[in-house]
Amino acid sequence: MNIVKRRIILRFPPQSGDKPLSYVLVKDYDIRINILKAEVMPGKRGSLLLEMEARQSNLDKGIAYLEAHNVECQPLDKRIQFNSDKCISCGNCTAVCFAGALTMNQVTWKMEFNKELCVACELCVKACPLRLFDIDFRDGN
């Protein structure tokens, strides 16, 4: 069976805060979810950054279910762009990356970016004094 992992930003309309959407995703569609970041304010639009892991067909159904409930779903796979050629390995970005995507190699002291671990928190965008990170809002997949 083909299990896929996707990072998706969900944007909720203001009145949907109390619907047990994630419960449905887990129970009805067998999607494993991991909440990477949540910004939910009662009565306002909220957003969630989720990592979803499931069979492709179930994932598609889950997303269709969310969209049917007015939740915007934006895939996130290509979100942070890194211009590695110009990197001077100063380390500033590693200070803020708690996902462990940006680390200093303990032998060479060069900065290493492991895209797989990125949770798109965006802290590195402002932390890099050379401005080498960009947020890319194009849909990834």
Binding site: I88, N92, K126
Partner: protein
């Protein structure tokens, strides 16, 4: 009788291609199995280096005279203000000066673009005088059209520097990087055992006139740097445990490379310039051999709270601890990150080593030693009655 070597002897060896040169990291390794006496015998020169953001940097430029000539009193380079209080077509452009329409672009960026051979828009104004009748000029310059560009940095290469943390509940954007709330990170900037002024803490070989690697070319130590402080607390190895002495350095910016001079912008702080400096230390005697043998576990620095007024002191750590990725502050484990490039500093130390080995770089004995017993003054606010 312990061995003593002179600059002349070492330079003769360099010219013959016989000098033994190690980087400060290599000599710190060697010192684990060799005594200082053996190191004086074996090693002639130790190369040290640093590559970090050094805000107190800038460049003197002479633009050449236009026809009719102008006495430039207000000067903009790509919109960045340069000093207009020097004779007609001389200026000093500071790295931290910024374009008011785009505060993320400043003197450091203009410097980098000049080095890279890019065109820069020069706009200048003067009141018009009998000998300099012109009042305004707007033109394009680049490194080939101007007469001189002389890098002169009044305060570089800090001897040791603090570790920054933030104990408050708000994120702080500083020149020490982004400091997360509640001490969720700690940043440090010194190259530890590779850092120039840590390997010669009492300035026995570094002084006015010392030949150095700066920004990709050969330059000189011009003077003790501003805020030159030699009486800060020291550890048992005689190395200051916080930021202390500094260097004023000079070099021909036309010969420099943006691989070693890099503009930077720090969020909510401003523009700065990463400067690459390499300094050779001649191993003249046992005392100097001992100094250059120092390793990261023997170098201590102070942890300061950059989030609170007065930056209270929170403790001490060694560079070995900082490099391990985690330190302990007030009983809390804090993740560490550098904010200066050790990888680049290593490149510089290795390059300088190669230049000396090949006979392309001779050592210059200081023509004047640095002062001792210096400290800092604050700035008093005195009421002015008119």
């Amino acid at each position: 009788m312990a061995k003593e070597k002179s600059y002349q002897e070492i330079n003769e060896k360099i010219k013959k291609g016989e000098a033994v040169v190690l980087t400060a990291e290599e000599v710190a390794q060697l010192a684990k199995t060799c005594t200082p006496e053996e190191i004086v015998e074996k090693v002639d020169v130790v190369t040290t280096a640093t590559f970090g953001a050094m805000c107190s940097s800038g460049v003197f430029i002479n633009f050449g005279h236009a026809d009719p000539p102008i006495r430039m009193e207000k000067i903009r380079l790509n919109g960045v203000p340069a000093y207009g209080g020097l004779a007609a077509v001389d200026t000093y452009l500071g790295a931290t000066s910024v374009n008011s329409n785009n505060p993320e672009y400043g003197g450091a960026h203009v410097m980098q673009e000049l080095i890279e051979g890019k065109d820069i828009i020069l706009e200048a104004w003067g009141k018009g005088t009998d000998c300099y009748p012109r009042k305004h000029i707007r033109t394009v310059i680049n490194k080939n059209t101007i007469n001189e560009m002389i890098l002169f940095n009044p305060r570089n290469a800090y001897q040791n520097y603090n570790v920054a943390v933030n104990t408050t509940s708000k994120i702080k954007y500083t020149y020490m990087g982004t400091l997360l709330p509640n001490m969720r990170n700690a940043t440090y900037s010194t190259a530890g055992e590779l850092s120039p002024l840590i390997n010669d803490p009492e300035f026995k070989t570094i002084g006015v006139g010392t030949r150095i690697f700066i920004g990709g070319t050969t330059g000189y130590v011009a003077w003790p740097g501003t805020q030159f402080h030699t009486t800060k607390p020291k550890d048992e190895n005689g190395v200051p445990i916080t930021n202390a002495a500094t260097l004023a350095v000079i070099g021909n910016m036309k010969e420099m490379s943006s691989a070693f001079l890099q503009a930077a912008y720090y969020e909510k702080y401003g523009v700065s310039l990463f400067v690459g400096i390499g300094i050779p230390i001649p191993v003249l005697n046992v005392e100097i051999a001992k100094r250059v043998s120092i390793n990261n576990s023997q170098i201590t620095t102070t942890v300061l709270d950059y989030g609170s007024p007065g930056q209270p002191k929170l403790g001490y750590v060694t560079y070995e601890q900082l490099r391990s990725g985690e330190i302990e502050v007030n009983g809390q484990k804090v993740r560490t990150a550098p904010v200066a490039s050790l990888a680049k500093a290593r490149t510089i130390a290795a390059l300088l080593k190669e230049m000396i080995e090949k006979g392309d770089f001779l050592l210059q004995e200081p023509i004047q030693m640095f002062p001792t017993g210096t400290s800092l003054k604050g700035l008093a606010e005195i009421e002015i009655t008119e």
